[in-house]
């Protein structure tokens, strides 16, 4: 679907006309990310991050495929094959640093994208399906990133795999059998490394497929916007190309400057030094920590230190960690406020920023040793996390009195919307 005023694809060149008749791929692109897709005219820079996430996915696939040409998924040589890439493969060091830091960049971008959704209520009707698919993408990204981190077969790779796959053993009755079956052994080893490599290669393409669904679902209602007021007339929109291709081009430049600064000047700052020590099943590292983008969830996992009624602490932690993400699926139904954008929701806005701070605190605790005072801080922060989504958001959306909304996007941008027959008489 699109708005009735959307530009129509009219190929001029005979070749393009011929192609349009047989396989209208250019028409598809034109309508998806070209001049045929009308987009609200008031998008701010928070809306750059969807395109940036797509860029990161492509970047990861390209660098990853090249790395896979030189990497050996064998527990005996995996570590050395990564060093071979760093030392002897032409530009191999750049490919590997681009890939390792590309994962971090991908998560930075996606976290901004997700919190943009929380702030502007992007998950609300009629865009629930876009949001649900987005959460699926995030879960797939987590699985992919986790398995990718195991591949260099350093100390943190090995022990991270040990801890995370160990979570499955918390499942009652079948846990231990499931754990052994998933790993192909009692501890991570050749079988686990090989299947992780296989899945790490597969999942990005699954992500790409879900991304296509995500964008398809987006094109039915069209993009949301910072006012949360739906598009009413042609003056509310501009064609995606050239307006947002130009803006995204600039955004991509800024993103690449930051990303390349890390890649070329601090390429190891986001990784853990222990992963430059070859995996050693006989020696546990002092602190086992995942990559930074998992820290908030890792903090929630470790916050449960006591059995609760009949539920063991470990199982509680696992349940809570997965619930911390699964709860996002329910956002469209937990937040019943008819107003989308937090710009017009004074109370929700305060709690949104509290969530941002809370996630940062959880992240800090998740990267710190599992000792006091970090455990108690993460317990407090995790209490807020669950209370935010499951208690505060439903209650706030019921009792909040939102600020008045603009009549239309055009009015929000220009101060009046004279073109619209339905617009209230300009008060100013």
């Amino acid at each position: 679907m699109s708005f009735p005023w959307a530009n129509e694809y009219k190929p001029q060149a005979p070749l393009m006309q011929w192609l349009d008749e047989k396989l209208p791929l250019p028409r598809f692109v034109y309508n998806a990310i070209g001049a045929g897709y009308p987009v609200p005219r008031n998008l701010n820079y928070a809306w750059n991050f969807g395109v940036l996430a797509g860029f990161c996915l492509v970047l990861q696939i390209v660098t990853g495929v090249i790395l896979a040409m030189h990497y050996a998924a064998n527990a005996g040589v995996a570590f050395d094959s990564v060093e071979h890439i760093m030392r002897d493969v032409n530009w191999g060091w750049m490919m590997r640093y681009a890939h390792a830091n590309g994962a971090s960049a991908f998560f930075v971008v996606v976290y901004v994208h997700i919190f943009r959704g929380f702030f502007y209520g992007s998950y609300k009707a009629p865009r629930e399906m876009i949001w649900l698919l987005g959460v699926v993408i995030f879960l797939l990204m987590m699985a992919t990133a986790f398995m990718g981190y195991v591949l260099p077969w350093g100390q943190m790779s090995f022990w991270g795999a040990q801890v995370i796959t160990g979570l499955f053993s918390a499942i009652p009755l079948v846990g231990d059998a499931l754990h052994t079956w998933l790993l192909g052994g009692f501890a991570p080893d050749q079988a686990a490394l090989n299947r992780f490599f296989s899945l790490h290669f597969l999942l990005p393409f699954v992500i790409a497929a879900v991304v296509i669904l995500h964008i398809w679902a987006l094109h039915i209602p069209g993009s949301s916007n910072p006012t949360g007021v739906e598009v009413k007339s042609e003056s509310d929109t501009v064609p995606f190309h050239p307006y947002y291709t130009a803006k995204d081009g600039f955004g991509l430049g800024v993103f690449l400057i930051g990303y390349c600064a890390v890649l070329f000047f601090f390429p190891n700052s986001l990784g853990h030094p222990d992963n430059y020590i070859p995996a050693n099943p006989m020696q546990t590292p002092a602190h086992i920590v995942p990559e930074w983008y998992f820290w908030p969830f890792y903090a929630i996992l470790r916050a449960f230190t006591q059995d609760f009624f009949f539920v063991p602490a470990k199982l509680m932690g696992v349940l809570a960690m997965f619930s911390a993400i699964l709860v996002w699926f329910f956002m469209p139904w937990l937040d019943r406020s008819p107003v989308r954008s937090a710009s017009y929701r004074p109370l929700y806005r305060k709690f949104f920023w509290a969530l941002v701070v809370d996630a940062a605190i959880l992240g800090y605790c998740g990267g710190s040793p599992a000792a006091e005072p970090y455990v108690m801080i993460s317990q407090l922060a995790a209490i807020y996390y669950f209370a935010h989504f499951l208690i505060i958001v439903p209650i706030v959306s019921a009792i909040e009195r939102p600020a008045p909304l603009p009549f239309s996007i055009t009015e929000a941008v220009l101060g009046s919307d004279e073109g619209s027959a339905l617009a209230p008489a300009a008060a100013h």
Partner: protein
């Protein structure tokens, strides 16, 4: 209905967390924060500067060669350098003949899978530094990546080499049970304060430098740390050089992209 259900689920998690918090708090008020000998006496690495530091830093080949000499004469008795090949040494200023000569001095073991025999041959430039068989207890770590495998790696290696000391009397007073055991050596820069490695650089001029630099313990520690930065990251110079070219291009392209963006949006009011 959804609201009631969600609040109930929310209460389940928050109450479980509050329960953990309560019991944790009680335990903490009884025992207090952990007070261990490491938390009091472990030291962060010393401040030390290397030629390769910073965005403009470059390797100093003379220093790397001195560091290589320290590695060959001292460290290599126990520590291997398996990721580095002799041919790589050309990058720190040795010519082909010198590399051949360095390699030839080393015996490289070759395993014959048909007979199960291990024979040795004179090293060739294509060979990697051979494994080191350590006769004592424990396994001295391979040093190829050591400066990337420790927090603040280069400063850590330097501090460790120059950090051997008598156990402070204060430590023994506070933690009498933490006396360094027989066969270990006190070093406050080591994670658990007691390291198995005896002090490797013990006196000035332990290594004779050919470039006239005074081989003080401090100088040798610095040189070998610099050498180990290189072994861990031989492409460091090229990386930074590439980085500046890439950033320069990106800056230019981003300015153009910004101007294009402003230009395209100029006709739209409100922007």
């Amino acid at each position: 209905m959804i609201r009631i259900l969600s609040i109930l689920v929310g209460l389940f998690f928050t109450v479980a967390l509050a329960w953990s918090l309560l019991l944790g708090g009680i335990a903490l008020s009884k025992d207090g924060l952990p007070h261990t000998v490491e938390s009091v006496f472990h030291k962060h690495p010393k401040e030390v500067e290397f030629a390769s530091d910073g965005a403009f830093g470059k390797f100093d080949n003379a220093q790397l060669q001195r560091g290589f000499k320290v590695y060959s004469e001292v460290c290599s008795n126990c520590h291997a350098l398996k990721q580095v090949a002799f041919r790589d040494l050309k990058a720190i200023g040795y010519n082909d003949d010198e590399v051949k000569a360095i390699a030839k001095k080393v015996q490289v073991p070759v395993y014959n899978p048909a007979t199960g025999e291990v024979k040795t041959h004179d090293g060739l430039p294509t060979d990697h530094f051979p494994p080191v068989v350590y006769a004592g207890q424990g396994s001295p770590p391979d040093l190829s990546l050591i400066t990337k495998a420790r927090h603040e790696g280069p400063a850590y290696v330097y501090s460790l080499l120059t950090g051997y000391a008598q156990q402070p009397a204060e430590l023994l007073k506070q933690f009498p049970e933490a006396k360094t055991p027989e066969g270990l050596h006190f070093n406050p820069y080591f994670a658990n304060l007691n390291i198995a490695m005896p002090q490797p650089l013990t006196s000035d001029d332990q290594v004779t430098y050919s470039d006239g630099t005074k081989a003080s313990v401090d100088q040798m520690a610095k040189d070998v740390s610099a050498f180990l930065i290189w072994t861990a990251e031989p492409k460091l110079d090229k990386r930074k050089q590439t980085g500046w070219a890439v950033l320069g291009f990106l800056l230019f392209a981003t300015v153009l992209a910004y101007m294009a963006y402003r230009n395209i949006w100029a006709e739209k009011k409100g922007h």
